[in-house]
């Protein structure tokens, strides 16, 4: 799988240029640029208030942009019409920080929801596909008929992943997937993201604070600071970046503790 990706010419699935975001007089992003290649896992990190979640919300068109351009799948999404927007939104999945599962629906109904809305498949096929996605997200099939309130934190995240891949998206946005999980569930989740990329060929954008995830999962890490992207590098190179903000971020004891043994200097 990985070999096949290498042969293809690198194609930008997301291309952000000169992006500015303002809330009133408050400037969040100024002239921000970022490219994401097809098939890669990109993590976005940065201190609190550096506009990570805002950037994600802009990419999935939940938030309007002050100036600049965002191209996804080669199409400009800034100022996009409603019909195009709907068509494009079916090609990506979003997993929200708290899961955002519909509380009145069971896990299976949650997963099947987009399939029921957008496809011409029969009910039986949709249920079977829903179960398949639940299994792909490493949830036990017995959880299919449970309601979100009956799930543990880790299961909610996995159910949210199952819903976000229901439509077989090409692109997956994940906001803080491991926040609030125990180390084992968090590590399982890292594994799940890698596994999904390998099996479904997904491009994944992850926002995270989790140092272990950063070392394990992404191909490249984009560091947000001073209202723009300060660096996009593999984590091994990023931690050696001399930029003071980046050094401050990675020199805390918690960040150091996550460094794999082989990389400790």
């Amino acid at each position: 799988m990985a070999a096949r990706k290498m042969d293809e010419p690198k194609e930008s699935i997301i291309d952000i240029k000169g992006l500015s975001t303002r809330f009133g007089s408050q400037i969040i992003h100024e002239n921000l640029s970022l490219q994401v290649q097809r098939g890669e896992i990109l993590a976005i990190v940065g201190g609190s208030g550096s506009g990570k979640t805002t950037l994600l919300r802009e990419m999935v068109m939940l938030q309007s942009v002050f100036a600049g351009s965002i191209r996804i799948f080669g199409e400009e999404i800034v100022g996009m019409g409603l019909a195009d927007k709907k068509r494009l939104q079916q090609r990506w999945g979003v997993m929200f920080q708290s899961g955002a599962l519909f509380s009145g629906l069971t896990v299976l109904q949650n997963v099947c929801f987009p399939l029921c809305e957008f496809t011409h498949l029969s009910e039986a096929d949709i249920d079977a596909i829903g179960l398949l996605k639940i299994k792909l997200a490493n949830l036990p099939a017995t959880s299919a008929h449970l309601f979100p309130a009956e799930l543990s934190g880790g299961m909610i995240k996995r159910a949210a992943v199952a819903r976000s891949i229901a439509m077989d998206p090409e692109l997956l946005f994940v906001d803080e997937p491991t926040a609030g999980l125990d180390p084992e569930s968090a590590s399982d989740f890292d594994e799940l993201v890698l596994q999904l990329r390998a099996s479904l060929g997904l491009t994944v954008i992850i926002i995270t604070h989790d140092m272990d995830t950063l070392w394990r999962v992404p191909d490249r890490v984009a560091f947000l600071g001073q209202k723009r992207v300060l660096a996009v590098q593999p984590i091994r190179e990023l931690v050696k970046n001399p930029e003071p903000l980046i050094q401050a971020y990675f020199s805390t004891p918690r960040a150091r503790a996550a460094v794999p043994v082989g990389d400790k200097s």
Partner: protein, 371 residues
Amino acid sequence: MSENQLPSYELKEKTLFFTGEWSTLFLASTLLQPAQFSFASSQTLVLNFSKMQRLDTNGAYLILQFIQVLKQQKITCDLVQLNDEQQHLMQLVTHVSAEAAQIPEEPQYWLSSIGKTAIEVKKQTLLFVSFLGEVTVNTWVWIKNPSRIRWTAIFHGIDSTGYQAMGIVALLSFLIGVVLCYQMGVQLQTYGASIYVVDLLGISILREFGPLITAIIVAGRTGSAFAAQIGTMKLNQEIDALNTMGLSSTELLILPKIAALTVALPLLSVLSMIAGVFGGMVMAKLLFSIAYADFISRFGSVIAVKMIILGIIKTPIFAILIATVGCFQGLQVSQSAESVGQRTTVSVVQAIFMIIVADAFFSILYSKLGL
């Protein structure tokens, strides 16, 4: 990017060529049905993937279903010319769907659903009784120890449930007064007894309509707000947070609401009576030419003070009903946003039901007492 092509297939002899994009949005269950073909039993069918433009898990699932149905008809399928990705997806889906056993849902029988409802009603009744007990115990704590009374919360409650409701209560009561005066006045006019409209208006508005209309407006406006507010706090675990701090959510959240409404509703009822009678007075002048001075002097001579008292006495009872039902339903919210909506609806329906039952009870009581 090339134009999207709908998923399809071509059958050439014993080979099925898949064409187009086999991805979720273009798929339909009717796309690939074994019934569309007439294969001889125990033959081998070749599935050729060379012309397929795109495949995703959902497409792979449909093809796999097709293969499995054919297998039951003793037709074996050979998959040829898959690229690595397609090979991988087919394997993944085969592997996972083998594991994904269907979980049968519990069948629903009407008899068992009646039983479940009955048990639920019994449970709710017991819970309501225990809630009333808790409210009573906490009220007793306040009475014994007045320094614990949450005056700020109570005044805030009076402001939001009483002061801010004045406009809507006055307007609706005024309109009710207008309507009553018109309906009764027209009947009385045929007997040339228009002036008696004052008696009828006075008695009906002061004894019945004022308190009842106010209580119904407040049940819709405030009872629902109580249920939604407490329900959302319950979902957000705020109630749990209070209880773990060693504080009583009943004392902090619910008693102030009940107390505030018990003060606000009688006051609103007085406003409603004034507005209703005023509405009737305006209408009497316009339609039946009863001068304001005549209306007021007759009102003073025929309407006894006890009418107001009999009307007002009912309102604290209504207030307690509205507030306890609203708060109780809020506390019954569990798990989902849907249940907030459901409980809010139930709180209004139950409150209005209980208000009308209580009003009927008061009517019987008053008539037995000869009031």
